[in-house]
């Protein structure tokens, strides 16, 4: 027994780029894929991790001196930099909890489908990273694999129910027939979005205001492009930090490069996971043929809707301003600003496209997201160091708005932490 355990420890200690190819290969074979196909998928994932490691180094080296200079110069309090969901997801997919949590999520889904507790068949394997992040965090802080797995079961059970309840609007308003969105970051906000809409509907005067979203996309579209976003924020921050022009220019370009290149590396992870995701999809479909089922897919499918995209773009400057004026906030929003539409779907869906109500609810979502991202920063920094990413020391921490925006999973995290 101890030989097996020593072997696992040896593999885990070799780091994520060795461990994950092995895990993915095994999972692929378990789901009935050929060894060669599974191995190639696993290796692709390993390569993705190496790419992300290099690119996150580039980004950290560019942003850290800026944050330090800002801290020294202005007593700047936004010391947790949002380095984005790309790195957040790679951390979540890179810890030893992955195989156990992965199988537990699929089992949870199948059991809930069997007992008619949900209609959502979640084939969006990639976004398992959201519950996986919390599981990894619990494993880091409590060392308990049982709590890690339990957190994912709870988080996913909740999101399957929310995905069921919101499916009608997803179908009718976003036009995604037969599809539901079991994503913590997106559908978790339905819990706020619908009551807010109900409330705004009952305030005299306010309930008459209706803004539509035309033209916003053309005017703010440029902010939705990661390279422009990185260039502008990177340049502005380093200029305000009083760095010399040469540093301002190199920082701006480096941040722009990171925001373009990190996702490219993440797409390698995604590419490798397709083999597993297809196999899991077939496995589940075979078991529930002929049943009325909603296919659970990535919330990315809803992002293109004009009112979602417009609200997301409009929320970029608003979130930046909020970060600076909210008392006690320490999150510096950056990489995930371009992912805001994901968190905003349920700010505007309940009112079927009223931008005014979208902005009001969006402000609450952004504020809560900033605070939770700040709380998550030490955990994300610890996890990143744990799986071998180069995190420069000093006053700065890393975080991701995507991690902060999966709000209820952090309640699960804290409740389960108390049990440890």
């Amino acid at each position: 027994m101890s030989v097996v355990f020593d072997f696992f420890k040896y593999i885990i200690d070799l780091g994520v780029s060795v461990m994950m190819p092995i895990i993915i290969t095994i999972l692929g074979v378990v789901f009935g894929r050929k060894l060669t196909v599974s191995f190639k998928a696993g290796l692709t994932v390993g390569i993705g991790f190496i790419g992300i490691n290099v690119m996150s180094g580039v980004m950290m080296n560019a942003i850290t001196p800026v944050t330090k200079a800002l801290v020294e110069r202005y007593n700047f309090s936004l010391t947790a930099t949002d380095i984005g969901w790309g790195i957040g997801s790679s951390i979540a997919w890179g810890t030893p909890v992955v195989p156990f949590v992965f199988l537990a999520i699929i089992a949870t889904n199948i059991i809930m489908l069997m007992f008619n507790l949900t209609k959502t068949m979640d084939v969006d394997i990639w976004n398992y990273w959201q519950p996986l992040f919390i599981s990894s965090a619990l494993y880091l802080t409590t060392g308990s694999m049982i709590l890690a797995v339990l957190s994912a079961v709870i988080n996913m059970a909740i999101i399957f129910k929310l995905a069921d309840w919101t499916q009608k609007d997803v179908s009718e308003v976003l036009g995604l027939e037969g599809i539901s969105l079991p994503a913590l970051q997106t559908t978790g906000w339905a819990v706020l979005g619908y009551p807010m809409n109900w409330l705004l509907d009952r305030i005299p005067g306010i309930n008459k205001i209706n803004w539509t979203t035309e033209k916003i996309q053309q005017k703010l579209g440029i902010f939705g492009e990661p390279m422009m976003m990185g260039l502008i924020i990177g340049g502005l921050l380093s200029a305000v930090a009083g760095m010399p022009v040469s540093d301002v220019l190199t920082t701006a370009v480096s941040i722009a490069a990171s925001l373009v290149l990190i996702p490219r590396m993440v797409s390698l992870l995604m590419d490798g996971l397709i083999v597993i995701s297809e196999a899991a999809q077939e496995f589940m479909e075979k078991r529930f043929e002929g049943r009325e089922i909603h296919i659970g897919l990535d919330a990315a499918l809803g992002i293109g809707h004009p009112f979602v995209l417009s609200l997301g773009l409009l929320m970029i400057p608003i979130t930046l301003v909020l970060a600076f004026i909210l008392p006690g906030n320490k999150t510096m929003p950056l990489a995930d600003l371009t992912a805001l539409p994901f968190y905003m779907i349920f700010a505007i869906l309940p009112s079927k496209g009223n931008l005014f109500r979208g902005v009001i609810t969006g402000i609450f979502i952004a504020a809560i997201t900033l605070y939770i991202s700040g709380i998550a920063a030490p955990i994300m920094t610890g996890l990143a160091a744990d799986i071998g990413y180069q995190i420069p020391g000093g006053a700065t921490e890393i975080t991701s708005l995507a991690v902060g925006t999966q709000w209820y999973s952090w309640i699960v995290y804290y409740v389960l932490s108390l049990l440890a």
């Binding site: 397709i274 499918l301 371009t338």
Partner: protein
């Protein structure tokens, strides 16, 4: 036959578009159609199309921006499996094979 230029986009330019790129590439390879395929974010599409016009844009989500007459195909069936043949037929007609 000319190389077909295809842009595939989704909300992240990573997630669902990677799956679609893979499926579309398989489909075109089976039919011996030469092609260049690239991925992007849905908000990036207008500027990408303005730089260089593709033969078709395949998206997992709605594209509301004006793409100046470039045909847009909804690629959701590559994710769900439902109606995939219809989408393939649509691609055949647009790309002319």
């Amino acid at each position: 036959m000319n190389r077909k230029r295809i842009y595939v986009c989704c909300g992240t330019g990573i997630a669902t578009s990677t799956v679609i790129v893979k499926k579309v590439s398989e489909f075109l390879n089976e039919n011996n159609i030469p092609f260049d395929i690239s991925q992007c974010i849905v908000s990036d599409v207008p500027s990408k199309v303005a730089n260089k016009k593709p033969d078709v844009v395949i998206s997992s989500t709605t594209i509301s921006a004006d793409l100046g007459g470039v045909p847009v195909v909804l690629g959701r069936s590559f994710l769900t499996g439902i109606g995939r043949d219809k989408t393939k037929q649509e691609l055949r007609e647009i790309l002319g094979f």
